[in-house]
Symmetry: C2
Subunit: 296 residues, 2 copies
Amino acid sequence: MDAVETLGYQPNILARSLRTQQTQMIAVMIGDISNAFYHPVVRAIQDVAYLNDYDVLISNGDHIYENEKRFLQTVLRRPVDGVIMAPHRLSVEDIDQFIRRSHIPVVLIGAQLQHPQIDGVGGTSQPATYEAITWLIQAKGYRRIGFIGVESDMVPGPARYLGYERAMTDAGLSIEPGFVQKAKFTVEGGAEAMRMYLQQSNPPAVVFAANSLMAVGAILTAKAAGLRVPEDIGVMGFDDIPEALIVDPNLTTVARDLPAIGTQVASMLFERITGKETGPGRFVQSGWRIVERQSV
Amino acid sequence: MDAVETLGYQPNILARSLRTQQTQMIAVMIGDISNAFYHPVVRAIQDVAYLNDYDVLISNGDHIYENEKRFLQTVLRRPVDGVIMAPHRLSVEDIDQFIRRSHIPVVLIGAQLQHPQIDGVGGTSQPATYEAITWLIQAKGYRRIGFIGVESDMVPGPARYLGYERAMTDAGLSIEPGFVQKAKFTVEGGAEAMRMYLQQSNPPAVVFAANSLMAVGAILTAKAAGLRVPEDIGVMGFDDIPEALIVDPNLTTVARDLPAIGTQVASMLFERITGKETGPGRFVQSGWRIVERQSV
DNA sequence: TTGTAGGCGTTATCAA
DNA sequence: TTGATAACGCCTACAA
């Protein structure tokens, strides 16, 4: 041990990994590094990983199919002990095939698919959106409610749309043509959607955006067009990110406990890695609450 | 090759690395994952890395000494072919010692130290701040100018402060007591600093924040206190991040080309890794320009 | 308790 | 050109 000290010896993790078949590394793919939703999540994942003496390989999918596919390739080639990912463009077959070929635990964030062998956190989208829309109707008295979803069928678009549709139907309200817009998951996407609303002769009185970045974009565009928010048009978002408190008026939104989601997925992964958990895939639904501020 | 195809053979990168002493992986430590400054930068780094068939191990320092130190430890143990980092809390000795022990190329972002063996991009802080302050004086006619810097001597605090001080001195303006505040590098830090200004009997007419997150916090606090920005108090930031366009009024700021910085550091690193460049440490200064919007 | 040999999956070297 | 072999640095199993 003296020698270790004086020579500053550091074991070579590569060689150790080759021998032990353990890499002390997990890989994480997030949906979009610009989306503040992921910041507390990866922070929490890193905390848990460090506690377990693991390193974290982070990739940024950016909602681009090639990037996501590439991540799978990388992880297949470069052995890691576990994977956490938030796939958006990957098909169910892509993921299924990956799981069959790599024999390591996988945890999905915002998982659309329920796979018997892998854990996931998610499933909040539909009930939370349902509750939010119902709240807009019952507590705030809105009846003409628009919805900004995401292009194609990318998660979590369909689930949040379903929550919206069900809530409207259950309240006996009709979804008029033009109420539903599809846009990119970004500020610019929300701005684009709001522009579509503003061209309508009788636009909705309030708009629910499937993500808070879009909600912020919608607010900015409405204000730029001379409308007052929420008096002329209300806007509500999904996820409580820092931008919600920067935009004026502050954003009313559905808030999930983001660090908790990160801790949750990381814990599930390490339970698999350490062998503490060997049962079938678990699926946990994160909690949420409505945070009322000024945009509705 | 048929067998490769049918069996789906993937070479084990670990074993290859052990043999070749090359890991096909670089490590990146950013200052704070919540700071949008780093998002385009890491995105660009990843792009360059993927082009070179390299993976990227990302760490988040979060401006915490232990995290940064841990990153150094990790990289010492887990061989990577190169390192890009934005150290904030590490001492010069820490970095120096690391470079001596690890024999891989290192590139520094926002480097405060000029090391003969390592490349860096930075050095913008002082001249850009100087120009910004001078612009506030000459083009905008301000004379009572405050400065929100960062606590302790964390980079890039001192350099930006120096730019401020020099510009004030060169213009023959005095820096009154209370003009200079120190705060955390966050929205909340800027809010805190603005609260200090608002307690003063004769606060500055405009405030330059060493980072745009702080500038946003300053604006929010000023507005919350009933002041109009920029009529009652102007605010200017450093770095053009998305929040600059979300806050109302939109932020006037110093803009650097963020993706270019990422491409720059990654290119310098790969020139070292591939052996194309073997000379002494290079230091490149990124360009900047003043983007005038509404907050000043 | 201490020491030694074998093998993890590659690649590079050297011989055939 | 092809094929066998050693070595990268570590850990584990087994022998002394």
